[in-house]
């Protein structure tokens, strides 16, 4: 039986840190659906992130745009996970990144102001966010080590293992940017790994 969007959200939340039924009732009502076309910018650099997103469909990325027209993709998100510019959402400081859809996407999203209220009202929700943040930090530190130590080929293999579907759906230039290599070297890498 196909799961509803709310069931998917509940399952995801439970996998991180289960919340009480009472907290869930207060929590779930504030998530509103959103559908966005491919290449829609949901948060611009300089804007303060207003939402926490839960990805139901599609692939998104957050990237830093430098003024010499170069971009650094810092993360890809896809179902089922939280998305949006997390640090800006939690600090309420302007985002340094652009957050955009790479393919048509569907989300549930929660206003950050509501999240803060819910965190105050329900201890388990506060714990949920803390746990999510801790796991995100774990990922970011690991990635930092990876960037400094792994070769392009190793980074690519790690990415493929973690997110195999990306290759078919994400334009290669963004994957190359995520790996920190230019497009031509990426084509060579792709050819060598596929063999």
């Amino acid at each position: 039986m196909k799961k509803t969007d709310h069931e998917l959200l509940r399952e995801f939340v439970d996998s991180l840190h289960p919340i009480t039924d009472e907290a869930w009732r207060d929590f779930v009502v504030h998530w509103r659906p959103l559908v966005a076309k491919r290449k829609s910018i949901l948060t611009a650099a300089g804007e303060t992130e207003k939402y926490v997103y839960f990805v139901l469909q599609g692939i998104q990325r957050a990237y830093y745009a430098s003024d010499n027209d170069k971009e650094a993709t810092v993360v890809f998100t896809y179902p089922y996970s939280f998305s949006g510019v997390a640090d800006s959402a939690l600090t309420q400081l302007p985002s340094k990144f652009y957050f955009e859809t790479l393919t048509a996407s569907r989300f549930l999203r929660l206003p950050v102001s509501k999240l803060f209220e819910l965190m105050d009202q329900h201890h388990c929700i506060n714990q949920l966010i803390l746990k999510t943040l801790a796991l995100t930090l774990y990922g970011v530190l690991n990635r930092q080590a990876e960037i400094q130590l792994f070769s392009s080929e190793e980074k690519f293999k790690t990415l493929l293992k973690r997110s195999p579907h990306l290759l078919n759906l994400v334009p290669h230039k963004y994957i190359a940017s995520y790996l920190g290599i230019d497009a031509t070297n990426f084509s060579k890498l792709l050819a060598s790994v596929e063999i």
Partner: protein, 184 residues
Amino acid sequence: MKTISNRLFIENISMDVRSILKETEVLKSLSVDQLNKQPSNNGWSIGQCLQHMNVYSRHYIPAIETALTRAKSEESGKFRSGWLGGYFANLMKTDSNGIVKSKMKSPKNAEPSVVPDSGAELIEFISHQHHLLNILDIAQNVNLGNERVPTSLSRFIRLKIGDTFSFFVEHEKRHMAQIGRIMK
């Protein structure tokens, strides 16, 4: 004219504004000379385009804000474009290649100066886009069809708030496409 939910309508326009912001990133690295360079077809320079768009922002953003303060709050409002507003917005549109559908001369009061302070115009332009995102956010929960905004063309021509947003952003997209062509 189709009816659309306020949230969807506003979200679509917001995404257009964010795309415009993304396009300004590369402009930040250009020198003042590059911003002021006259393109080969004797059209406006990038600086002049920015200044022209800023003139519109200086009129429209405060005017829309005023209308928003008068407009009724609405949780799940719907918006239907007026015929005049739709007409104006369509006039501004470019096709998917960024080519304008109808060429026109800009109104006298919006002609840019010969050599604007392009660095300052760019900073101001970026600031206007962020202001726009802020008022768009507010507009999500406000009635977009009743209160009207006087156009810069004539204060007797007044558009619905929703149509003003459409027209304004289509106008910016038109000039951003122009800037894109200058950059090539």
